[in-house]
Symmetry: C2
Subunit: 451 residues, 2 copies
């Protein structure tokens, strides 16, 4: 049953487009879900994709458009007139409609909006466009099923049959008072089970979760995940019901957040995919690499500064990659745990207690690793002073790296900066330099004391 995107299928579609065999093409695509058609179109060249899109019925087209890769959608929309886009928009839910319009160039947005015929739809989309895309308002849809507390169950069912036509899936029925303030909820099941003559006021559940329209989408995602909600109503500061957010949009938010954090940790600054162009990929990667280069030059300058005192101790220089790698790895481990703890809200207690814990943890790891290193240097080179100097500095470097890895994301978070930026190259590079500096200082100190 499951759809498989194969090269054969794509070739088949390409052949049908080439032969302009519209009938066969329509027959073939009718079998597929719109999300699958979008996957096929993402693989076609622009001309073929536009050909196929113009062939689909209007409802399918709009759904397919929503599912296309953002870059491809932009290109396809450029090939459609404002009138054609407005027609697709009419078929979409308000949240999807607003998303598509917001991706258009400024001047085209107005043109498309003016061509939307349904005045209510137009007004709702315009309202949604005013919200920041990272807030509850930017994610919500205006489509929902709303009942007044004064209605009866029978009246309710009758009206819901009307309202529900617009709403693809009825999650909860929201109960409002005369001023449209959200006061509770009902499930369709509750309504079916209740007697026809009952008043909504008698049967609704007043305990209803909601979010404010300006709340951050990540917080909305946390609330919905924590309470296992499938939809959540959105209200303004007066508790007036404005819209609702459904879990499928939250699933997308969670995936995007996870992808973004993963890329940041790997030193990729913009949202890119493996199939983006080389230029886009370079732009996303180069900034952190330049930072790495600057860090490397810093390490060079430090080592050059120490070269006189180590004329006779070249061996110390041969361990710098080891020191830098350990400092980087420990820093990334510490910061990743903190970044994740912050994202999941499971960090409690003061910064100081975190730092103490991290110090103990790093010290434990550091001592274990230093023992290995000490034994290696001692047996391999037979120089006790250097073995001691190298392994003791390794412990200090690891402890400092762990502290920096812990402190930086906590500090950024306090300052309102996304701590995810702190993992990856940023921590690695700063720990590399600091680690090497500490290493040479301490090693010099120990060797001087020893001799």
């Amino acid at each position: 049953m499951q759809f498989q995107l194969t090269d054969e299928l794509i070739e088949q579609v390409e052949r049908l487009v080439e032969n302009q065999n519209d009938k066969e093409l329509q027959k073939l695509l009718k079998e597929f879900h719109y999300a699958d058609i979008a996957e096929v179109l993402d693989e076609l060249n622009l001309e073929d994709a536009v050909y196929v899109i113009k062939l689909l019925d209007s409802e399918t087209t709009s759904d397919v458009l929503m599912e296309l890769d953002e870059d491809n959608r932009e290109k396809v929309l450029k090939n459609l007139s404002a009138k054609e886009i407005a027609e697709e928009i009419e078929e979409l839910d308000t949240d999807d409609a607003a998303d598509i319009i917001s991706e258009l160039p400024e001047e085209r947005q107005q043109e498309v909006i003016s061509k939307i015929e349904d005045e209510e739809h137009k007004a709702e989309i315009t309202e949604l466009l005013a919200y920041d895309e990272d807030t509850a308002g930017g994610l919500m849809a205006k489509e929902l099923v709303k009942v007044y507390e004064t209605w009866t169950v029978a009246g309710c069912l009758r009206r819901i049959r009307g309202q529900a036509k617009e709403v693809t899936r009825v999650h909860s029925i929201y109960v409002v008072d005369k001023q449209d303030k959200l006061i509770g909820r009902l499930s369709l099941k509750d309504l079916i089970v209740a007697k026809n003559e009952k008043k909504i006021a008698d049967i609704y559940i007043s305990n209803v979760d909601y979010v404010e329209v300006n709340e951050d989408v990540e917080d909305v995602a946390k609330v919905m995940a924590k309470y296992d909600l499938e939809a959540i109503p959105v209200v303004d500061e007066n508790q007036t019901l404005l819209g609702r957010i459904t879990i499928d949009d939250i699933v997308d938010v969670l995936k995007e957040e996870a992808d973004k954090d993963y890329q940041l940790a790997a030193g990729i600054t913009q949202d890119v995919e493996a199939d983006d162009s080389i230029l886009e990929l370079t732009r996303a990667r180069l900034p952190w690499l330049v930072l790495g280069l600057v860090g490397g030059v810093g390490a060079f300058l430090i080592m050059e500064g120490f070269q006189e005192s180590f004329k006779e101790k070249a061996i110390l220089f041969f361990f710098t990659p080891l020191i830098a790698a350990m400092a980087g790895n420990v820093g990334v481990q510490s910061s990743a745990i903190i970044v994740q703890g912050l994202a999941n809200d499971d960090l409690r207690g003061s910064i100081n207690s975190r730092l103490i814990k991290e110090m103990l943890l790093a010290a434990l790891n550091g001592v274990i690793l230093a023992i290995f290193l000490f034994l290696f240097v001692w047996f391999y080179k037979g120089e006790l002073d250097k073995a001691l100097a190298i392994s003791i500095s390794l412990i200090v470097v690891i402890i400092v790296a762990g502290l920096i890895g812990t402190f930086v994301p906590l500090f950024l978070n306090k300052r309102g900066v996304d701590p995810a930026i702190a993992t990856g190259p940023f921590i690695t590079t700063s720990n590399d330099i600091l680690g090497i500096l500490l290493y040479f200082w301490i090693a010099e100190l120990i060797i001087n004391i020893y001799n």
Copy 2:
């Protein structure tokens, strides 16, 4: 409205427990959602937590237990008798019940199961326990609303009122034939809108998504996210309807997967949280650090091997941290993009075309970075031969690092190994060593040619 976990609240609960003020405590906790109570309990010591749990009514207790942190749940369950656990299990949906039982030690599992009084519940839980936890079977619940195609709408509504009591949320109504084979679906809305005397066979939608019971949970998540599903039925190889999976469980799967991949990329091998014990955290971190140590020793041996030929060229050694850092960063960037592409199924085309693209990308980045480095060394030291040697080797090192970062996750994936393991320390360490080796080889070659 939103719950805030404050130190004051925790202290208040602790005080009430200490004074054994059960009435106040019950009154306070009654206000909270079970997920919030679980958050409070996660902060209490075990004794207090068990005290509070025994005070809650049985339905709340079972929900709270499900939401507790896994480590805390294990401890709390140790303090409950098999009979007490069985009573909580009776209140839970089959999927949650099976999850809790599967966490118990082997010998306790049988004891708890034998104490479950509801025979049907017991049989269903036993069935679920047989499935692998990473498959659709391990995630599904037996609770669902099922109707036969031969029923009428009126009969259906009557029976659904019965079945739906067990089902917290009715997503879809699944339509089966006489042999219990899944043949379609219906929404509650469709049912309400239809005439009472219609047959289900006349109104059901035969186009229904489903997954097989042995399918991997990650694939289930992909299907549900792609088609925006809120629930999906699970069938066996004969298409017999076995259970259903709801989106809230998928949200948890997505979060766990994202957390795991993030930790792997940061060099943390087990699922740990910032609040785990130092020993657990050490166990999760040490393996990759030891790998880093071995890599560092490898780098040491390489540099030692080259020391004779570079007696007079200490400057080359001072750039090894830079070379190692660049090799590591480029490798992590490449592998992260590939790992993500594999996870999201957006990688198409052959391995060769990927490698060629990555080579071009790395070459572009490498040339830009090498120009910076060349200018620095040339102006700062005035030694053209070394400036050339260092910057040309940097380009080669970056290209090779990019290729390894691309190839390794693709190779692991082909072999059926989770490619996420390839980002982070694994790539960093292998690229460090190889990068340094290449660097010295090429630098030596160039300096020899030049002079």
